[in-house]
Symmetry: C2
Subunit: 330 residues, 2 copies
């Protein structure tokens, strides 16, 4: 390991001078600077980030903790975070919590390797968050309602999303309505349910229990839920599936069973993942503003870092993206 000491020696100057030269300070003469830079190049000198960070107490890097680095759902969120951070001169590094592997993520949160962290993973418990958040170390949590000092949160109005799904089916003339819900211990899922069923009942409608199946947010779960639905004597004409991943499984099961979407049943999903556009029939869905979520989170981190106050909680709205999988009932 060649250090700045070696460079200084080779250039025949003091360490401090070498440091100044390498960091392009104007306080050093052109000639000495050149000498130092040449020596550095010759010795293949590379700064030691650890030492630098320790001294400077900042990195200009924000950490992002995701459940799954490779999930397509996260893509637009990351993009939103990245572009925003970049515009402020910050970089981003990401790690995942998949596979019970909390090690790296917790080290991010606890050991202050970055200037702040954005968390989007249910694997990190609230207590952990409370435990690690400190002054001068901003934390933004996505998709979770939580309140604490130095802790910001960005959520999506899942309740309103559920309402939109119900309204969409109602406006398309559907009165026999089915529902494949998400995991009941899931916060998002509960709110989507609440919005959906309440809006239905305000319109004098409800989901009969034979048409209400519980799913697990996975594609496979959606497939299985649809199989259950298909065993009923009759199918609803409108169906809300509480996330797109499951909706894709439902579409598969329906295709296998020869049930035509949207002719026999109109299907509306939730999330608007990338696949929703490409699957056939393409999927009508309640869109989460993913890019915006990322951008908002990044803004909050930066504002905190720059000492300007910012709202502790931000809630974003959803909208329906009409595609092929829903149609008017005549």
């Amino acid at each position: 390991m060649t250090t700045i000491k070696d460079v200084a020696k080779k250039a025949g100057v003091a360490v401090s001078t070498a440091s100044l030269a390498i960091n392009h300070s104007s306080r050093v003469s052109k000639e000495t600077a050149k000498k130092v830079l040449d020596a550095a190049a010759e010795l293949h000198y590379q700064k030691n980030g650890w030492a630098r960070d320790l001294k400077m107490k900042k990195t200009q890097i924000i950490g992002v903790v995701l459940h799954d680095l490779s999930g397509s759902f996260y893509a637009p969120i990351i993009k939103g975070i990245e572009e925003t951070l970049h515009s402020y001169g910050y970089g981003l590094i990401a790690c995942s919590t998949a596979g019970e592997n909390l090690g790296t993520a917790e080290r991010f949160l606890r050991e202050r390797r970055v200037d702040g962290v954005i968390v989007f993973s249910a694997d990190i418990k609230n207590e952990t968050l409370f435990d690690v958040c400190r002054a001068h170390f901003p934390l933004v949590v996505l998709d979770r309602e939580i309140s604490h000092a130095n802790l910001y949160s960005v959520t999506v109005d899942n309740l309103q999303g559920g309402v939109l799904a119900a309204e969409h089916l109602i406006n398309h003339g559907h009165t026999s309505i089915g529902y494949i819900s998400g995991p009941s211990n899931n916060w998002d899922s509960q709110l989507r349910s609440k919005g959906f069923t309440e809006c239905l009942s305000q319109n004098g409608l409800s989901v009969p229990s034979k048409w209400h199946i519980k799913g697990d947010y996975s594609q496979r779960g959606g497939y299985q839920a649809a199989r259950l639905l298909l065993q009923q004597e009759q199918l609803p004409s409108g169906l809300f599936v509480s996330n797109d991943q499951m909706a894709i499984g439902v579409l598969e099961a329906f295709a296998e069973a020869g049930v035509s979407v949207p002719d026999q049943v109109s299907l509306i999903g939730f999330d608007d993942i990338e696949l929703a556009r490409y699957i056939r029939p393409s999927l009508t869905t309640v869109k989460q503003p993913k890019y915006e979520m990322g951008a908002t989170a990044a803004h909050q981190i930066i504002q905190h870092l720059q000492g300007s106050p910012s709202k502790e909680h931000t809630m974003l709205t959803t909208e329906v993206i009409q595609r092929q999988s829903t149609a008017k009932l005549d």
Copy 2:
């Protein structure tokens, strides 16, 4: 910022004792350990990773530099890397080079914030790689042929992949063959072309220039290339599109023009991205072993770190995944 010093003072012990206690050394008595841990909890003490790394000269973390953190193409690769690293007790952090934003990536490479780096991004130039690779800092480059001390590479046999694509079309009875190639300055793309055209000519076939369109590996580029193809009087019966992203664009353009796949033209792509299974018609394609690429890269890094030698270059093979977009010509 509360440091280990504060904890030691509060617990009434020396800093070193506090350190031992916090790191669960057996060399410290139960009582003192409890005193220290209690003090730490009370003061909300969190280790400072920067200082620790500086001292330990290692992090047990591997960095991954990707062109695009949110590209679905990378998903299985990351998974392969992650699972392998995890099995060795290493963690992973990732950053991207998208948007001309090399800052973070270069800092990873230069400033030794991690124990080793896996690079999968054409944005990082060879010279940079040569410049930053040093002893005890293993670098693995994916999808690039490169040779240097402390530098490992993992590639996919694109040449063979091109051959497979040609063979597939030939075996399905196609003799009028079109080709939408990738960017000509791209190394992968060149090899795919070479394998494809050479195999064709060995079978007495070739791609007439009217049916050879150059694309740019983007979906939009594929769409445009297909429009160009559609302007010809006649369409080939078999078409090789040199990546799936473009193939999806081609499928769109064909669907718009009422050209049926595979009845009128058989289409084979390259990569086997996730979407290939879901799009309709589903896409026959030459699969890159992405998970394996990631796993191999991770193994090489770890082996180097553990002092065991390993092959400097590994080349993986491709295979054809038959789906709906190609059919036998009768």
